[in-house]
C-alpha cells in the first residue's frame, strides 16, 4: 500500500480517485476525533466529511515533510471548533444517559473497546466501570483539555505534534494535558483506590 505522500502526489497530479485511499485510511480516526470533540455521531460524520473535503481542496498546501495525519487532524480540530462556535453550544459530552446515538442504546459502553471474552468477570466488570466513568469524566473537561487528551492519549500523537495540531506552544499543550490528567485522576480516583485496596 502506498504511503501518504505518494497518494497526495498522485492526487495533485490529477488522479483524484486516489484520494479515496486516504479517506478509507483515516476515516475512523477522523470520525473518532470529531466524535470525541462534539460528542454526537451525526455531527461528527458531517464534520468529518467536511474536513476531508477541505483537506482535498487544500491539498496543494500540504508539505510533504509533515505527517498527513497531523495535518488532517488539525483541519478536523478547526472544523469542530468552528462547528461548536457556530452552533453556540457546548459539546454534547459523553453522558451515557443523554443517549447521543439511539441505535447504540443497548450497549452504551462501546465508547471504549472493553469487550474481551478472555477476561475474568471481575476484571471485565472493572474495565466496564472505568470506561463508564472515563466517558463521564471526559465530558467535564474543557474543550481544549479534551482535545489535547484525545489527540495525545487516544490517538497517540506526540507532544510536539499535538501542540502543532492545537496551534499552540508545546508548554501550553503540556499544561492542557496536565490539567486534563489531574481532573480525570480526581474523577476516577475512588474507583482506582478500590481496585488497589484488595
Amino acid at each position: 500500500m502506498d504511503d501518504d505522500p505518494s497518494i497526495v502526489e498522485a492526487v495533485l497530479n490529477g488522479d483524484t480517485e486516489r484520494y479515496g485511499d486516504l479517506v478509507n485510511r483515516y476515516q475512523l480516526a477522523v470520525l473518532r476525533l470529531a466524535f470525541g470533540m462534539v460528542g454526537n455521531m451525526e455531527d461528527a460524520r458531517d464534520i468529518a466529511q467536511e474536513a476531508f473535503f477541505k483537506a482535498y481542496r487544500a491539498l496543494s498546501s500540504f508539505r510533504k515533510e509533515a505527517r498527513f495525519s497531523s495535518w488532517l487532524y488539525r483541519i478536523v480540530v478547526n472544523e469542530c471548533r468552528d462547528f461548536l462556535r457556530r452552533k453556540s453550544r457546548q459539546p454534547y459530552g459523553f453522558s451515557l444517559s443523554a443517549d447521543p446515538f439511539p441505535n447504540q442504546r443497548d450497549d452504551p459502553l462501546n465508547w471504549f473497546d472493553v469487550a474481551d471474552p478472555a477476561q475474568n468477570p471481575r476484571q471485565a466488570a472493572f474495565d466496564r466501570e472505568v470506561a463508564k466513568r472515563l466517558a463521564n469524566a471526559l465530558e467535564q473537561l474543557s474543550l481544549k483539555q479534551r482535545t489535547a487528551f484525545l489527540i495525545h492519549y487516544v490517538h497517540g500523537v506526540s507532544l510536539e505534534e499535538t501542540a502543532r495540531i492545537l496551534g499552540c506552544r508545546l508548554g501550553t499543550a503540556k499544561a492542557h494535558l496536565a490539567r486534563a490528567l489531574e481532573r480525570l485522576r480526581i474523577l476516577l480516583g475512588p474507583l482506582l483506590y478500590e481496585e488497589e485496596a484488595p
Partner: protein, 165 residues
Amino acid sequence: MTGSHWERWLKDWLKAHPLKGPYTKPDPLFTHEVMERIRSEARQSHLKPRWSFFPKLAYALAGTVAIFTIVWWLRPQPPIGKIVDEIEQGAQTIWDLERIWAELEPDLDFTQTWQEYDRLVLTEVPEGVPSGSKQRGFDRMERLKDKKESLSSSGDFLESEGDWA
C-alpha cells in the same frame, strides 16, 4: 496513585481499551459521499473558464489604464476661473498698455505721441479685450495730456518728464 503512576496506568488502559466510539470499521458509504462531492467539485471546475497568464495580464493592464485614466481625469485643474476673471478685469491689457507706453519716444511731440499711442493701442490690443480696459488706457492718456498742457503753460514741463516713461 501518584501523577506519573496514574498517567502510566491510563496510557496502558487506553492502549488495551482504545476509544472507538460508535465506529467499528470504515464505512464505504462515507468514502463514497466524500468522493462524490469531490468529483462534483472537479466537474464544476472543468466548466469554469480557466485562467491562464495572458488573460490575467490583459486584465491587469486594462485595469491599470482605467485607473490612470480616472486619476488623470480627476487631477487638480488649473484655476481657469481665476484667469478668466483677470482677463475680464483687464489686468493683462493694462500691462500691455504700460509696455506700449514705454516704447514711445519720450521726445516726440506730444500730439505725435498721442497719435502713436492710439495707433499702437488700436493695433496691438488683442481682440476680446474689454472696452473698459481700453477706456482706462485712454483715460490715463487724457490725464497726461491735460497735465502736459498745464505744465507747458507754466514752463515746468521738462521737470516732469519722468511721468512719460
